[in-house]
């Protein structure tokens, strides 16, 4: 499955870049980095479906919960 996902991303990336009229290196680099990140994200989820979601605002959320217990949560 992982190989299939990688092949899918390579095919989508190749077709997309081929369809561009101009290929400045900055655009190509950003595109490849983002495609790589998306592929990596898909593979990580395939390996571990319970991958934890980062909670950068969890501290503020728990502080708000203490401040107003009836208000629900983040």
């Amino acid at each position: 499955m992982i190989i299939l996902v990688i092949l899918g991303f390579i095919a989508a990336g190749y077709l997309e870049i081929r369809s561009w009229q101009e290929r400045p290196w900055q655009k190509v680099a950003v595109f490849l980095v983002l495609m790589g990140a998306s592929a990596l994200f898909s593979i990580l989820l395939l390996i571990n479906p319970d991958l934890p979601v980062p909670q950068p605002f969890a501290v503020i959320g728990s502080w708000l919960k203490k401040l107003w217990p009836g208000g629900g949560g983040s």
Partner: protein, 368 residues
Amino acid sequence: MREIVPDGQGRFLAVFYLVGNSLFLALGSRSGQDLWLAFLLAVVMALPLVVIYARMRVLLHREPLGPGLERLVGKWPARLAALLYTAYAWRLAGLVCSDMSNFIQAISLPTTPEVVLAACFALLALWGAKLGVEALARWASVMGKIVFTVLFGTLILLMTDTDFNQFLPIMYHGFQPVLHGALQLLDFPFLETVLLFWLFDCFQNKNSPYKVFIPGFLIAALGLFIISGATFAVLGAESYHPNYYFPLYSAVARIDVATFLTRLEAIVGMTLATGSFLKITVCLLAASKALSIALGFADYRFLVTPLALGLIPASQYFITTMMEIEASATKVYSPFVVLVHVVIPVFFWLLAEVRTRMGKGAKRAGQA
């Protein structure tokens, strides 16, 4: 290339985006029988912020979003904010994708893997986003008429099963549930209007943002209020609850006109799927545009494909079950959402007003 959306089509897009997937969740359910009061309070609380979003666009003076924002608030604050809104829009698209794939799996395709349904929506949104906001607004103005006609027809038929005594007694549990319901509505879907700020590149004239954002928000709020109210009047407070899934769908399933007109929930399901597609596409488009501003590119289209493909795993990541979907859509506050809905727009608006006035003052002094 500048993409200019006519005001009428922009309004349709705003209404359709806000209604989007909202109706298949129990909006403002924490307020119980005081749902109508929660709606009124939420509209009163949201309107000033929607005016601020529109005012920010007016201050851009028909400049494209990226350069205009950099002129108003400075290069790096604009880019940092764009990066934050990219994350917000992309996450929201992932959540809507997850909602929709769960909904379809629960009601009609129980053996189809969710990821397949999410992939269909993500690829359709990729296509829509590649066509740009002009095509999307035209599509919204055509499909919106069909969807709103269906919803209006459903509303008329729902009237046969409504019991308005469900709204009584008024404020039996005090003001707290009303406030909870109103905050719930602000979080989802009212203040999601903020993404429209990042969606449109240019408007027809200087005051167009007011003509798109404010009526768009008010019409959507009125529509959601009427349909949620009717659903509540059919189901009652015990069933219009976060733990009771797809309230509108369940309410419409009860429609039975002389045993002839029944099973209308499939039509409502299709309208909800259409609205969700539009919402995912708007979020994807806003994420692509905001990311292009953050990275300093004039074109956004080359960013659509990786962001859209990333939506497929994202729909299986942020939220996985129906219970989590309901919990996320019916929460009262979330620090991240408060930051993107309230704190940053208000801060940028104040900064932009001060800079604009100082610029005008300097111009006048120069002329004198």
